[in-house]
Symmetry: D2
């Protein structure tokens, strides 16, 4: 499936950083969902560079809805969103085309595409492609919202800044979405300072983000290979920079005994709940009705201004690389709305598979 | 795809813990691969309970090859492996059928299957199903081996026992596979002691396992949604107990600056290599020719003998649960060959997609 | 997907004519559907050779349900059906292994599998594999029946015998299923005579079969590539001997003007119906609520006793072939329940995709 | 997969007749294939209305390559083609929005999309969407051509005009592609006369088209469910108006005995060939190295100017319909390049699955 994900609701991404446009096709979303262009623009704004902690390449993200929308609602046919690339400076990259940026896709792409790939600005590997994902995710979030399902992603760790993990997901989503740096606690300045410190040293930083989803029905996910964990993980690793995923307490569970790691069930107002949520809302790959929680490891941006050792893969010899393009010293702030959007797409797919294609507009 | 994984080489798993048999269908593997029954039996033996640190349910795992093999080689048609369940004591479970085991799939399965699921011994969610995966993986490993690709999985952390991570994958695979407790260092006794200590307290333990793959060609994996990381992650989360995955240094990368996290490229004997391998052999979702490395978080077995709080989900009221079935106090030893096997299946699929269905028998 | 079909309800076939068994895995069918072993046996009996017009190889078709059934109902986990091969005479084929039977899969399989295929009795290409399809289809038919959907397949043309096409599908299904030769009119003897005449001349005959489905809701099928026509066609061509498919009047529509070929809509008891049904119940790839009708072209069995010109593909030279195995002089009678069964599987998949996985047990 | 087809080379179609644009995403085609814009334009011209026998809506088909092309070659990333809709007269349709056109998708789409579909000019069901398919197919044809594979589609029957079937495919492809009405024999005027006669009577005509493919390697196609016949059939039924498909002699085989229907093998210049080609180059779902041949039944265009009986599906009452939009009295001429293009896409997918993703640029 390569650049597509999903079985019932299917997202396809396309475009290159310095080509005419990036975009997506979102197929299979049920007819009748409102397409709120202002909300899409708002989500795109959350992903857009904003301030000294982000790249200097700022795009207006003027999106066009080319198909699948009629009278302000989804038609049920493929919905195509095109976002032109308007701020392109390809000359930045020309000199470096044959020097593999360490820990970037340049060399592995060369081995796969034999030199035919578009190298300008990372080409199809560029984070620029995520603009389309955010736009598609905005529509999916509105579909989910109609069924009472809400989600958001915040920075959990960035340098020595440590945010609180989700505890009351529904209310914390509101807090997160109201901020430029998505955090639950009031640590925005501290977080930005971590990024600026790295930037000042011509370096970059990574971090951990956490996604919380509330309102999902119990019983979602399929053993063995369509476990909700597996499906969300496959999606998450599509995003450049993601090197790990854990559900609930994840790697932290490994040092506990079972008696501590297990989430006891109990009745609460006639509903089965768990007293703790170390499993992140998923048992046996299937939702148990508690909030779904997962963390992503986001590595530091590989593009840094410092001189690095590398190879010239055309000539096959060692070389030094000093990058001059416009880069983010950290993508951790900007990746949050992307993770939320992509997760929203995946959830729409899973819900449509489980409850039918008209699920989001049923009474 | 639910119980199937793969596009070109496709594995389907079936069976329940206390049904007549478990098994797999392995479709699409190229014709002409030797099917070595002794090697399959050897791999199954690695997964089988062996000693006081494992469950008391020991199965002989007498497998039958029902299709897809002719004159000792794969035919190219679906290969079906059936493994009868011979040591079944269903009465152990009867009393507990309506009491959801904490952090087990019982409750979420109930919500999904409405009470029609087979609850005996975990039914289709049972680790028993992994016997078939190991058998299929044994054949896939032999296919990989014909192309110089080797892999193994060892226990990286278990309680306070910490094994060395892979450094020289090819030689360490040999060491690991020679031991009952798969470890690189000589820590077998210490590891077993951790499990027995938990067992003595009617408890269980989890841990971290690490998989290493060497010999993979560079250029394998597809952006965006078939990144090798995403594909391997989807597979890994099929396995009960897996709650996290990280590639290379994974979550450890998040606290580094880019200048430290990046793997510099350099030439070595005419080949491009990286000086370090913090990325785990994958950049941009595509292999770079270095060993592929990933870690899995394996939570403690949820089935413990201690009394636990839970609910009776038929009557909808709080309850106490004291388990009496036969369980593993830790699955960490036994999950290693399963992870290796499932990874081998996924790699065969990826290689066949990239290089064609006859890849494994080409000169 | 090769030996699997479907996205939500997925059928996988496996087995060879002279191997230990044939079988299927049916994954994704919703939990709680009754599995009536007597009904499965009855459907298998309809496919079984019966009389001088069929092959002399008669199998008892003693099927085993290995997984996915608990207390007489589907669990929602993969349902595995195994049917042992009990009447095998492989020596029949030994001499002919390298002589490609004209219009059979021998040569094309050789080119694909490089000689590793199991050639005995056609191996995996054998019609024997359809026994599993019939068993799976029997369960799917019971699921469909719970939603008021019924279907059957009859012989429309066989030599100079011409049956009536479906007009009142619901009642004609009853008539067809009550007969050994599935026909709407009373032409059983004539039909059998056509086959026996061919057999007497060491030859074989083909024909046309027609499938009718009533009770399907309008709105099923997806443009462009999951049109119901496309999905049913892909399934139909899986069956050896099928060389054509047409919906409604199919090729007959090509010689009409639009004013004659169109099916006018009209209201009938508050429901939209069409005055004629030349479109076979499908417009734009989507059901319109009328009975779905399609015809399959079934070529004459390629295995005939007469001497034929062919090649020895191992030595690469011309040769003569005189077959001695046990063959059907016509598969037209026996293919009818297979087409019905496979269509039932496909419909279950389409309905589950459209209305959710619990569709068949919802009130 | 809905609006996508393929596993390795994947085509996604999008757009509506009267929306801003139609287009496709073509994913997975190997890097390095020349993208010849003049050739694409030429193929689009073959599909464009041209003369009194076609619709009066003529579009310039100014296509834009938005992604996946760099320096005139495919990059291996998704290739997006956008074709603006420039000649739109939506007012033609406003009055008819609630009157279901007989044998058109209006009513079945209403049942599926609940009134949210874009009804203007058939919306997403419009033949306008095929412009994107032709553009994508042009690129795929050039990939195939690099491996010596060629194909074309001609009108086999139209009213009482009967073209010769393919006999020497390679040379006949040239003849066909040189003509405005794609025919092997010199019957262009007669064919056009048939269409004009129907048009003069405010009616429409259908016909049969035949596709021929030469140069395909033997051994392509997968039993059971990815038979080449099944895969091509699924694609063909995506096209509006196609109601039947047959391979080789198809339905004609049903009235033959096996001794006449079989294609005897023989050696010719060291290669295995068949003396006749009644099977259309496919045995057991797998190519045998002979030209692949199939016929499609194309029904008469359902949109005719004559008054027809229908229903108003909003008010649920009988009604009369007199169409005033711009329509083709026959699509048979224009469907030929579309069938060729879609077949080319499917063949690229099948070849990439079989021989690897770099097949088309390997030496």
């Amino acid at each position: 499936m390569k650049n597509s994900i999903g079985s019932s609701v299917i997202l396809t991404v396309w475009g290159e950083s310095h080509g005419p446009a990036v975009g997506v096709v979102l197929d299979g979303l049920c007819p009748g969902i409102p397409v709120d262009e202002a909300y899409i623009a708002e989500q795109l704004a959350r992903r857009r560079p904003a301030g000294p902690a982000d790249t200097a390449r700022v795009e207006p993200d003027r999106f066009q809805l080319l198909s699948g929308v009629y009278r302000g609602r989804t038609t049920g046919s493929p919905l195509t969103i095109l976002i032109p690339n308007e701020n392109v400076r390809s000359a930045d990259y020309a000199a470096q085309e044959r020097l593999a940026r360490p820990s970037h896709a340049d060399f592995s792409a060369q081995m796969k595409y034999h030199g035919f790939q578009d190298p300008r600005g990372g080409g199809h590997f560029s984070g620029r492609v995520t603009a389309g994902i955010v736009a598609a995710g905005a529509i999916c979030r509105q579909a989910l919202s109609a069924r009472g399902i809400r989600l958001a992603t915040h920075i959990l760790r960035l340098g020595d800044v440590e945010d609180a993990p989700f505890t009351d997901v529904a209310s914390e989503i509101e807090r997160i979405e109201a901020k430029r740096f998505p955090l639950i606690l009031d640590l925005e300045e501290q977080a930005e300072a971590v990024v600026l410190a790295a930037k000042a040293e011509q370096d970059s930083v990574g971090g951990v983000v956490q996604t919380g989803i509330c309102g999902l029905p119990a019983g979602l996910g399929e053993p063995w290979f369509d476990s909700l964990e597996g499906v969300l993980a496959r999606a998450a690793f599509a995003l450049g920079g993601v090197k790990g995923i854990e559900f609930g307490d994840g790697f932290g569970l490994c040092s506990l005994r079972g008696s501590r790691a297990n989430d006891p069930f109990r009745m609460q107002e006639g509903r089965v709940v768990t007293a703790s949520n170390r499993s992140g809302g998923i048992n046996g790959g299937i939702t148990n009705g508690m909030p779904v929680l997962f963390n992503l490891a986001v590595k530091p941006t590989p593009s840094i201004a410092r001189t690095q050792q590398t190879v010239d893969f055309v000539e096959g010899k060692d070389a030094e690389l000093s990058l001059t393009g416009r880069h983010d010293p950290a993508i951790i702030r900007r990746i949050c709305p992307v993770v939320t959007a992509l997760t929203a797409v995946v959830l729409c797919d899973q819900l449509a598979l489980r409850f039918g294609t008209d699920y989001f507009t049923q009474p």
